[in-house]
Amino acid sequence: MTIKNYMKKLSHKLQDDLKRQALNIRRDIITISAKAGSTHIGSLLSTVDILTALYFDILRIDPKKPNNSNRDRFILSKGHGCLGLYCTLANRGFISKKILNEYCKDGSTLPIHPVRGSVPGIEATTGSLGHGLGMGLGLALARKRDNESGRVFVLLSDGECDEGSTWEAVMLAGHLKTDNLIAIVDYNKIQCYGHVKDILDLEPFTDKWRANGWEAIEVNGHKFEELIPALRSIPSQVGKPTVIIAHTARGKGVPSMENKLEWYYYNIKSENLDKILAELI
């Protein structure tokens, strides 16, 4: 299955809507992280278009009924990207925008990494890498055996694919033909201390998933005309879990941050906030 097969034309209106939502989420991420003095900004920005596609088109969810039993579940396995998820949940109506101002503040319910049930829409506690796919597999198996319809989406970082526990889950999900499990890898090619290809090269990455019984689809993780058809096609093969390898860029949307390792560690100084917001595209 090639990317071409998924390149169906999306309506201009949907694309414009999604782009607008993504811009709002990026603006919130920049503003809130500047206020909190928090880091991981480059890694947050690379996930925004994936989160937008999921929460504004793909996931069968209802902000008014966040615990609906048949809902699709989303696990942010790369827990350090949770500000992106909070901002997405706020823009999608799960939580108020006001609560975002409490991010990382004393006594708040919004830490850097997600805590299950802390606010509506947070489905699993993560923060240490390599836990999310296994939990997602458990959720997906329960649904399969109970003949329930909900699907389970898990967003992983590329660095997280160094963890052995990730591959334990990959192997078993393929073996059990868990086709209601969808992994998305935010493949921004930069991990904590350098470039993926220099530290622990994942390539041939899609082949590794396919060898374990997964359907693998490569997309540009910032182009909705690729993300949406790929995500809508799931399960593209009955009896296979699906992985979307989303090629992304760290810091996407703020040109001065793009593909810069240091924006994992830097925070935004208040005097630079307006300049960075003005850069947003």
Binding site: V115, R116, E123, A124, T125, T126, G127, S128, G130, H131, L133, G134, M135, G136, L137, G138, L139, A140, L141, A142, R143, R145, D146, G164, S165, E168, A169, M171, L172
Partner: protein, 309 residues
Amino acid sequence: MRKAFIEELTKLAKKDKNVWLLTGDLGFSVFDDFQKNFPKQYLNVGVAEQNLISIAAGLAMSGKKVFAYSITTFLTMRPFEQIRNDICYQNLPVTLIGTGSAFSYNTAGCTHFALEDLSLMRILPNMTVTAPGDAYEVKSLVRAAYKHQGPVYMCITKNGEPIVHNKNTNIIFGKAVKVADGNDAAILVCGRQLSNTLTAANILREQGIKCRVLSFHTLKPLDMAEIKKAAKETKGLITVEENLLAGGFGSAVAEVLADNKITKPLVRMGIPDEFPKGVGSQDYFLERYNLTANGIAGSVKKILKLTSR
């Protein structure tokens, strides 16, 4: 104990389709009937203990009552962080069944010796820690774990340890059971040494020494009231466990005494700070560390000698 576990779990699985058994590729012959009778409630995840725990968490998040099984050492140490974050931090109803107490896998060597499990599980918030002393305690604790709304650890053994309790004994989490009465000394036992402890009390009784024997099948929450009562009413306490002395049951009892400013002689029996060297049977190793009826009786005499000075 392992047979008692699967018998009780089978009863629960028959009544409730949300009861699941997960194994890390262990349980040869013991789980054959369970997987045949409850294929939708059984899963062998392969030799992958980290995934075993994360999957158990995901299932529990879906309303399942999960019992996850492996050899004690593999179950508690390889996936320690998954136990901490996925099960305990999220406070999910997953029961970890570790098979093997200290030297159950006798000739297998130290990689298979369950020396640290009680200490490791005890320090985790939300975790209930149990070490049943006979098959009756196993069955009762499995039922209690099924009803419990949070994580539970249970260390069981492979062999047919003698049954100590009668059918009227009430086993509930956090409540020690008095199996012998006396005020000379109190022997507090956690786990497989229950039968040896009772034998020790009987040996001593013939010599005119009356010991109270308390079975602490639950190490956490700890029955502090019974510890304080025993300290008040007897001349000294002996703790017995098949675990390293560091951080286990004896440590927990010592903490209760210290925290409550109780000064009473205490002898902690268990395994010292070492990896047991050599090869041998379960009894060979237990004798090395005095974890026998005679060894326990000797500790009682040591306490009484101290108090008579």
